[in-house]
């Protein structure tokens, strides 16, 4: 294989790197005159990058097995691209005011760097590349969380995130070091063959998983989630809750299916208890939240629990339904965050009681938020219903009926708090509802995309079929 071929298997990473470098140079060189073109150019380039990498290619590897490619990775990377694109559309307003007007270039550059890190994490075949990807995905994210320079909460959230992230990465690295010590190799393929059930390797396995569980925010590694989501700027929160979480969930699944296949029984038992605790704790804490961002943080913790239902099944159907679930979750969550971001940027209010009577002044925004809440709760005929049904089927197929019952009971509890938001907007009377807002055109485009997806994507059968063709199980 020539060097060109090696790099061509890494098409998506190369094109993303090209976009990043171009944006960096554009920001530095264009100066004051080019400022107003920066965001449209960034979005257009990123759309081009997404379109270039739509079609899956044949499976392959490069650089001696360090970089692995499988067609299902194109599907997941495209989903991350779509999510990032929607977030970019929603972040246009951030730089129109005075607060962050000089931070444009940094925002796009850092976001795309974390995305590149996630790509590397997903496609890695070697622990070193994996760790590089993980760190590249986490450290710029901490900067993004602390992006609002004049807001104390943002700085606090950034500090919490970087400290906990560094700590988790440290533990993860510790686990990797023991795996290396006991197997003598860092390549996934070789480590997988040399895993036996001995205490040192199991301990390393647990440490390794703890690092990843932090990023997916399973319980009990979730304590950072609420504060960081609340403190970060809303668009960074949406990036964390959707892109960061889903890439970590996907990485978890591929690692458990390929690298730790011989520990199937062990990690299924582990995930069994983690799913029960995650869904339940996420739900119970969400019941008490008044701040919409904290509320969505706990909701996303319990959604991570549902996502794990696809992982625990260990089958191709499990992988397919998990990816489908992430796809739908992406649109529902981004719709909710889009509405919150629009309202926050015009009025600065983020509490659920402030949303009372919103339908009287902002019917379209209320409608989108209602759709997002219904989809997250799993209400028919919206897409969230199909994704929940399918992921429960994947777990039921392997006999995990107890988990499905726990998930189902928690769905009912979650319905209460999702309906509370709908109730505030549509049913509660308010003498002084929030004034009629005019969302900017970019955010409106993103909300239209999300709305259409929530209503129609669930009805399209070919999407699940397409994902399932590329999925693999143990």
């Amino acid at each position: 294989m020539s060097y060109f071929d090696h790099f061509m298997t890494m098409r998506s990473e190369v094109s993303l790197l090209a976009v990043i470098l171009f944006l960096l140079l554009f920001d530095i060189i264009a100066g004051k005159k080019g400022e107003k073109y920066f965001q449209p150019v960034a979005i257009l380039l990123f759309v081009a990058h997404t379109l270039l990498n739509l079609v899956p290619a044949a499976a392959g590897e490069s650089f001696g097995g360090m970089y692995q490619y499988h067609p299902v990775m194109t599907i997941i990377k495209t989903m991350l691209n779509v999510a990032t694109l929607i977030i970019f559309l929603q972040s246009k307003h951030l730089f129109d005011g005075n607060e962050m007007k000089n931070q444009r270039g940094e925002y796009y550059f850092l976001t795309l760097c974390t995305l590149l890190g996630m790509y590397l994490m997903i496609s890695s075949g070697h622990f070193l590349l994996f760790f590089i990807g993980l760190e590249t995905a986490s450290i710029p994210l901490a900067t993004l969380v602390a992006f609002s320079k004049h807001c104390k909460k943002s700085a606090e959230a950034g500090a919490k995130f970087i400290l906990l992230s560094a700590f988790s990465s440290g533990i993860l690295l510790f686990g990797i070091s023991y795996l290396y010590g006991t197997t003598g190799s860092l390549y996934f393929a070789e480590v997988a063959t040399k895993l036996t059930v001995n205490p040192l390797q199991i301990m390393a396995f647990i440490f390794f998983l703890s690092g990843i569980f932090f990023k997916v925010s399973f319980v009990p590694f979730h304590l950072w989630t609420a504060d960081v989501y609340e403190g970060a700027p809303t668009n960074v929160t949406s990036y964390l809750s959707v892109v960061s979480k889903s890439s970590a969930a996907f990485v978890l699944m591929t690692l458990l299916f390929k690298l730790f296949a011989s520990y199937l029984h062990e990690w299924q038992t582990l995930l069994f208890w983690i799913i029960i605790v995650t869904i339940t704790v996420g739900n119970l804490f969400a019941l008490r939240q008044q701040n919409t961002k904290r509320f969505l943080a706990f909701s996303s913790i319990s959604q991570a629990g549902y996502i794990a239902l696809g992982i625990i099944s260990g089958s191709a159907l499990g992988m397919a339904t998990m990816i489908y679930y992430i796809f739908i979750y992406l649109f529902s969550n981004l719709a909710a965050f889009g509405v919150i971001s629009s309202i926050e940027s015009r009025t600065g209010k983020t509490d659920i009681p402030d949303y009372k009577g919103l339908y009287q002044t902002n019917p379209k925004l209320s409608f989108v938020m209602m759709l997002a809440m219904f989809s997250l709760a799993g209400i028919a005929p919206f897409a969230g219903f199909m994704s929940k049904f399918f992921i429960f089927s994947a777990a039921a197929q392997q006999g995990y009926y107890l988990l499905v019952i726990v998930a189902v009971v928690n769905t009912i509890i979650s319905l209460y708090y999702y309906l509370r938001v709908v109730k505030a907007m549509f049913i509660d009377q308010n003498g002084q509802p929030l004034p009629a807002l005019r969302t900017d055109i970019w955010n409106r485009a993103s909300l239209i995309i999300c709305t259409v997806a929530i209503i129609f994507v669930g009805l399209l059968g070919f999407i699940l079929d397409m994902i399932e063709k590329q999925s693999f199980g143990i």
Binding site: F389, V408, V409
Partner: protein, 492 residues
């Protein structure tokens, strides 16, 4: 794809048309046009179904069609009807039609009200035509959430509380149902979710017990299974009139229909073994609902508890598992659907005029509003089960069919439920006596006007249905009992 999908397409088209409608005339026009088309479609279906059966077609399901939908899980969009579905579709279209006319003056947010109303109808119609478990469940769930908004926004009284309680309890039961459905699919080794295919495979009997309980419970709660009926009185009392009509008249029947279409026909052995427990619960429900209705003074609560009693009777009859009893159950679904819709419509009209639902605050209304008064008496008499009206036909068939079983428990329970007729007579006649006859309680009531044209139309259609079923039940009963004949054959 055949004409059955029109039952789902028409309400969806109505929703789209409502989105672009601009004034009240257009909204009402769309609703009237759409619901009339649905009634015509249901009549067309009934006509063709009877013609097909008369020409000797003995397939269990007619007019079937299917499209592969989600291949990895072998889910299809499969539609088809048998006698019971046809009857239920006719009932649903009648109630949707009359409900539109009853809501003629619905304000505020008329457009949004009818939007959710149409989504509710989509779910109901889709449920009755579906033959695939997932599709059936999808439509079942679609019919749930519009209730929350319809009650919460346009309801009265403790509407937020009732709406949340109803939604949480019904979602709870349907989520349990979901587990049951997944169990049926995965444990019976089936290769598709189509009901006909699943009926041919049997699950191991020990596992059937668990999943039958889940599935029957899931459908039963919507059918007001005692003691999980508590969502019903508050829900119906707080809901706006057309929503109560649709919910008590049709949605509660989804529970009964689902319990035999899914729970019993797919898991017949467990149904036989576990029926005593559920029979006891439903029998208690029948008697309890009737007695509870005696204590009520709010018209809507009286009717709500009466509905609990009658819907438990439906489940009771279904669990008897004989052809006659099952036929009686469907006749009761049809009959009670019309009776309770008529009741709620009348109560809504009276409430709209007197602004009170308490029978203690009303009296002597028969002279002031004769049309409404007489209609109320007719509805009351059919509720009690006076011959000539549909209530008698249905209850008679149920009790005869239930008594066919030889064992002692079933016969004792049947006798217990028969007592509910007497109790029914007590609360109905007492109610009518108190607020239609008797002395005038409030002189303001002298100024009230009788039913308007749109209200008369709704009332007359429902009374016509009740009279038809009560006087000429054979045609309908034959369609129903033929389908059960084949279903019980397959189950054996």
């Amino acid at each position: 794809m055949n004409f059955l999908s029109l039952f789902v397409l028409l309400p969806l088209l109505m929703i789209l048309a409502l989105f672009v409608a601009r004034n009240r005339k257009q909204i009402l026009g769309i609703m009237v046009a759409g619901s009339t088309l649905l009634v015509i479609l249901a009549a067309f279906l009934a006509f063709h179904y009877i013609a097909a059966r008369n020409s000797g077609n003995t397939d269990p399901m007619l007019f079937t069609a299917s499209l592969s939908w989600f291949k990895p899980l072998n889910i299809q969009y499969a539609v088809g009807v048998d006698g019971v579905s046809v009857v239920m579709l006719c009932l649903s279209s009648l109630i949707v039609f009359t409900g539109t006319f009853v809501s003629w003056k619905m304000v505020p947010l008329t457009k949004e009200f009818f939007l959710w109303y149409c989504l509710l109808s989509t779910g109901v119609f889709g449920f009755f035509i579906s033959l695939d478990l997932f599709t059936l469940f999808l439509f079942y769930e679609t019919a749930l959430i519009p209730m929350y908004l319809l009650i919460g926004v346009w309801g009265s009284g403790r509407k937020e509380y009732s709406a949340m309680k109803l939604t949480l309890m019904l979602m709870g039961s349907s989520m349990i149902l979901l587990v049951g459905i997944l169990g049926i699919y995965f444990r019976s080794g089936a290769t598709s979710m189509h009901i006909s295919e699943l009926a041919q495979r049997t699950m191991p009997v020990e596992q059937q017990y668990f999943f039958f309980t889940l599935t029957f419970f899931g459908f039963g709660v919507l059918g007001a299974l005692f003691p999980f009926h508590t969502w019903s009185p508050d829900g119906h009392a707080s809901a706006p009139t057309a929503v109560s009509m649709l919910h008590a008249g049709v949605l509660m029947k989804l529970g009964g229909y689902g319990s035999f279409r899914v729970a019993i026909s797919l898991m017949p052995e467990a149904a036989e073994k576990l029926s005593p427990i559920f029979l006891i619960l439903t029998a208690i429900g029948v008697v309890y609902g009737a007695f509870a209705a005696i204590r009520q003074t709010d018209l809507k609560y009286i009717n709500a508890y009466s509905s609990v009693s009658h819907c438990n009777l439906v489940l009771f009859a279904i669990l008897m598992l004989t052809q006659t009893a099952l036929t009686g159950a469907v006749l009761q679904m049809l009959s009670h659907g019309m009776i309770t819709a008529l009741f709620f419509a009348l109560i809504g009209m009276i409430y709209g005029r007197t602004h009170t639902r308490l029978i203690t605050e009303m009296g002597g209304l028969m002279k002031i509003m004769p049309f409404l008064g007489v209609s109320f008496v007719i509805a009351g008499l059919s509720n009690i089960g006076v011959p000539g009206l549909s209530g008698f036909v249905a209850e008679m068939t149920i009790f005869v069919g239930a008594f066919e079983n030889n064992d002692l428990l079933r016969r004792i329970l049947t006798i217990a439920t028969i007592t509910s007729i007497v109790v029914g007579a007590v609360y109905i006649l007492r109610t009518i006596g108190k607020f239609l006859q008797g002395p005038l309680q409030d002189p303001e009531h002298l100024k009230l006007d009788d039913a308007r044209w749109h209200e008369r139309l709704a009332i007359i259609m429902l009374i016509a249905g009740i009279l038809y079923l009560g006087s000429f039940p054979t045609g309908v009963a034959d369609i129903i009992s033929d389908s059960f004949g084949s279903m019980l054959q397959v189950a054996k």
